[in-house]
Subunit: 327 residues, 2 copies
Amino acid sequence: MADSGGKQEFYVGVDLGGTKILTGVFTSKMECLGKAKMSTKAQRGFSAVIERIARCLRDAVDECDLDLKNVRGVGIGAPGAVDPDTGNVIFAPNLSWKDLPLQKELEKQIGLPVFIENDGNICTLGVYEVEMKSKPKHMVGIFIGTGIGAGLILNGQLYSGFNKTAGEIGHMIIEVGGPKCACGNKGCFEALAGRQAIFRRIQTAVKDGQKTILTDILGEELSDMRSGALRKAVRRKDKFIERIVEETSVYIGVAVANVINLVNPDTVVLGGGLIDALEDEMMPVIIKTAKENALAGTAKGIEIVPSKLGDDAGIVGGAVLARRKTK
Amino acid sequence: MADSGGKQEFYVGVDLGGTKILTGVFTSKMECLGKAKMSTKAQRGFSAVIERIARCLRDAVDECDLDLKNVRGVGIGAPGAVDPDTGNVIFAPNLSWKDLPLQKELEKQIGLPVFIENDGNICTLGVYEVEMKSKPKHMVGIFIGTGIGAGLILNGQLYSGFNKTAGEIGHMIIEVGGPKCACGNKGCFEALAGRQAIFRRIQTAVKDGQKTILTDILGEELSDMRSGALRKAVRRKDKFIERIVEETSVYIGVAVANVINLVNPDTVVLGGGLIDALEDEMMPVIIKTAKENALAGTAKGIEIVPSKLGDDAGIVGGAVLARRKTK
């Protein structure tokens, strides 16, 4: 398709998740030319995952009728604490990784410059540059997926703090003594509003006799539940799922209020699969709750908006990072 | 005392609170030469308060055998949202002030350059420069008084965000559906761990029959309760007050964990009258709770320390601000 004569003018973004790897090839104007997807298979260990990332990356490049030599750089977001300077993943519980040289090993495999960042940061970077055209001065991106990640842009720069873990909003405690979180603590935002927490709540209620259309759609076991199934149930006026979605939106609104009180950004962007699937239902409740729960005066003029990038925020952000770093 | 021949080498810091005004005169090395204190009398209105600030300021200067002409500048912290650029107080609920020109009117009264900031910011600035010698890169100061204020130093700079209200940590919700806060919301950090919240909890329990040494010290009405009285009760092994102090420390620890997860500073400083009075009892519980509740890896190497400035943090910060601005 793209006849570039080997000129390095493309960028690859990689979204490395606990369950899947997503790769995308982008022009220098951040237009996506093609994507590929693969399961992570984290249980096979670090080397196997590196090989899968490389394969998924080659698949996306090949899909666009390009070659690795057309690619100027690769940006990758990893779930957990990463050190962008050393290129190491410090701690990624979903992958069972600790102090592993992701950047170095991937560079060995593909022979291209690789840059890494925390996934919340990289999604925020993608939304900030491509969707918001770098206009906000202070922006917080919140991404609701299996877990909940976030990133902070302060004074136009990615801010990651002392241990490079700023933006771990999923583990902000908003209900002392609340439900147990995967991290071991109680009442974390993620344990109340993350996709996994919601799905567990639904499954438990159904086991206790709660009726829902979801069992018609997915079967009694409610296996392989996704955000899209929730949308279907809400569109079909399932009262129970409507209530779950509303409760979740209230928790998200409280977390946004906390971010406004503490960091006071001009823009809060909400993204990820859940928001993408249920934007119309969730955003009004999130915005109303956030404005009610932020201290009077602190939320004035602050934009609280949904991202349109959906699941692509990570690969867009990866490509943006690669473009920034190879300029 | 100080024979300066009229040379402007001194700075005045002003801590304007809802109940009292504190002023202090400082050398350029931030040594305090003298202080003065006066009740605010906010109910008398804006002009009356400005006059009282001017009077309290003159008292402190006179106390040091100095004259206003020896003062290079005045820095003042106000409780609420302030705009340091216009010098206006945007919103100060404790004073019932809205959009009032504090800087301009005080300058008129005293004929000296005045600089204003939010009180949480100014206390943080004082602790940062004088106590921490400007060493932290990212520091959060949390001050527990009647209410709870905070300030953020990020990359060595005071960060105040879009509406200049960053650091409103007292209204971070940490217990959805929890006790009602003065701001109108529920479960705010201040409603769980602010001095006023603690005092109310004690008064309510005593009315319900709870026994405590405090009634011996202060009388059955428990009027004029201060942090010092709590310290006395704890030192005299009052089990009930010990429990209240421990619960409060846990809430503060949770709030510190949230700050670590979200902002990830290298240093968290805790100050204000309550911490000052009960440092030995509270700090170990705060540190333990914060480290347990921050996501694994995020709190590594972060210093959580008490400020030694006590009630003087505000006047020290005011003097630091004046020195910064008149350099």
